[in-house]
Symmetry: C2
Subunit: 461 residues, 2 copies
Amino acid sequence: VSSIGQSLAAIVGASNVFEGAGIEERYRVDIMAKYVSTPGFVVRPGSTEEVAAVVKLAAQANLSITPLGGRTGVVGGGTAKDGAIVLSLERMNKVLEVDAASMTMTVEAGATLQATHESAEANGLFMPLDLGARGSATIGGNIATNAGGNRVLRWGMMRDMVLGLEAVLANGSVVSSLTKALKDNAGYNWKHLFIGSEGTLGVITRAVLRLRPLPVSSQTALVAMSSFETATALLRKMEAALGGRLSSFELMWSDFYDFSSEAQLAKRARPLPCGHALYALMESLGSEVAHDADLFAQTLEQAMSEGLASDVVIAQSDRERDNLWAVRDDLTEVLRPLRPLIAYDVSMALGDMPRFREETRAQILERFPQATTLYYGHAGDGNLHLVVGAGTGKDQTTEVDRMVYRVVEKYRGSVSGEHGIGKGKREYIGLTRSAQELALMQAIKTALDPHNLMNPGKVLP
Amino acid sequence: VSSIGQSLAAIVGASNVFEGAGIEERYRVDIMAKYVSTPGFVVRPGSTEEVAAVVKLAAQANLSITPLGGRTGVVGGGTAKDGAIVLSLERMNKVLEVDAASMTMTVEAGATLQATHESAEANGLFMPLDLGARGSATIGGNIATNAGGNRVLRWGMMRDMVLGLEAVLANGSVVSSLTKALKDNAGYNWKHLFIGSEGTLGVITRAVLRLRPLPVSSQTALVAMSSFETATALLRKMEAALGGRLSSFELMWSDFYDFSSEAQLAKRARPLPCGHALYALMESLGSEVAHDADLFAQTLEQAMSEGLASDVVIAQSDRERDNLWAVRDDLTEVLRPLRPLIAYDVSMALGDMPRFREETRAQILERFPQATTLYYGHAGDGNLHLVVGAGTGKDQTTEVDRMVYRVVEKYRGSVSGEHGIGKGKREYIGLTRSAQELALMQAIKTALDPHNLMNPGKVLP
């Protein structure tokens, strides 16, 4: 054990420090096996004070720190520098309090998203953020990456659920504002700077989350549409008619829908026939079981009669609902044949999506005629996913990246609507962020972390 | 005309520069006649480029800049240093675009809040932020102060409506991200740093706002309650039962309600009798005219039968609605007898409000037995207003401030939930922001504005 290892052990206990060859694979290789490194130390603090002590020690030893949550990121944000420190929040995993009167929850950064769901529901409350990795993803990671998911349309991103925040800065100081109030206009809102900063400004240790009343009614439908214009009009119609109840509007172009439902045929029947231009999976969450179901069905019926919807299936049971969602979400097996696949999470104005799709698709297929391109996304919030696979090898990733991001640049969108920049998109951030914006971000980074000790090599170019 | 005046005129035109004695009173004295200064220049640029040129010139001349919006701030945030530059956004007052498909609006900073309401409604859309000063308050000022108002419970503060932002930094560079997408996770979200920074980090020039579907149904009720616990329970019941439609829950303690309704008796009958402990004014906005009205009435009826509400009046017409709101909002004449009054906009966890009220009230009345204290607030979002008047003179402001803010500190609330810090609360920000938080804010300020040229003497102590 090195002297640094001993000093770390003195802070967090010997059983919570791993060093060199004693470091397990999960701290060295990311979940997609895409980003690999050889950290010098893994340390698992049990409290904010221990985090602060580790950060101070790291600064003295001139070792950088990479905070690690539930290992569900896809852009290499949790990959440490060789020889540096991985700071895992896995032991700080408690839901500390649910305050039903204030409708808030206080949590440690290492609590899983699912743990917050369960604690909220046990108190008749609701934590709206949801995503497939809920069982492993941690609140600290969700905050550090400003996680999105399928309900951003109604409740916003992780950013919109964080009332209070505590973080340890690069100099070891603890900034803490664990407020339960929705409103605080006393000075700069530093909280929002840390949300989405991917561990490069400090280590998030605790948070106060805003909860909502637990919805009692839930409706889910899959709808086929004849054009992007009808899809947009249907989205606006549903939002207006449901008076705030619409919580998801997941758009799937026919390429995605046909491919995904085809791949799942052994498991489940296709919920709607192929042949339509677009499909939308929509969810409404409300407070009145019978009335909400009637309103949802009537609105969709009206949409059919107005030509906004070409075909509709409404889930009549939890099983049917899960089957509808599976076409959109149960993608691991579906996408396997396309490996090595290239995935995007760009965002842009809703109205620019069709041209973005046409232009990227034409360029990719001209260069790689055998490629498969699948387009889908959250639509309601401007976030579009694109998967490119088969016919493009791993070596072509950079070429496809450039094609796709150039078109995003043209439409003044963002190279990341959801997953963040991490290591993987650093070279492209300048396509959709101006030199002035990047200079501003760098000035903030330098002011808060002058020696570049917090998760170096991420986010900024 | 000085040489600086000439240089300013070369940028914005001679008719848009005022100097020395030629400066009108509205640029020297704030709307409450509380903050007075003698600026050297007033300049009214017509474009972002002109703002940038003015900022660069000011930096060369070592003159500070105070951006000025609609002059509706109450904490002196728009008061320039003597001899320095007031940069008024009044000429940049256009709504540049309403994009109905993306449900966004692009505006110049000097557009009034009311202009955004009208442009949105003309397109069948809704800008949810609302406050009494809507006719003069500008979007730039609303962003710079992160304005709140009566609908934060449902749609959040100004921060939650800003998708894209453009600002001119102290070094004259223009940072611009006028995106229409809800999601952008590419790098630090600098936008949120400028929102609520009160002109101390740069000049906000343009913004893209998120709009919502225009609600078609509206219900308003005034409800009397027997205790704070029943008020909290009623809030939670209404939120849950209305499934997201509850847009306001304005709480009034009996001291406020009795005083306000008494003062308005010449104009309108008291909507509910005095004698109850608390009153709440609530608003629900939805999409179904008949059903929403039934649900609202039935839920309140049920609340009565459960003892959560002691008495209820539901507005049956626009006139009745306006009369109910007047008790809460039409305060200019009501509060006149209390001048010189002292007003607070603190925030805290909902559950701490009763003890905050008891403790501050006891302290104030012990020291100033003739004083009137009125408590009211947005409640749903943790924001509490307190007005203290009569029996406390202007000279006692500091003494009352200290009493009130010490109790806010005890309950770990905020000295400002809504109005900001400006000049008026600088000495108190340290009571509810830690030394570490203030050091972090100062580091950000220094990084972005090393020569302290942007609205100096505001926000930070």
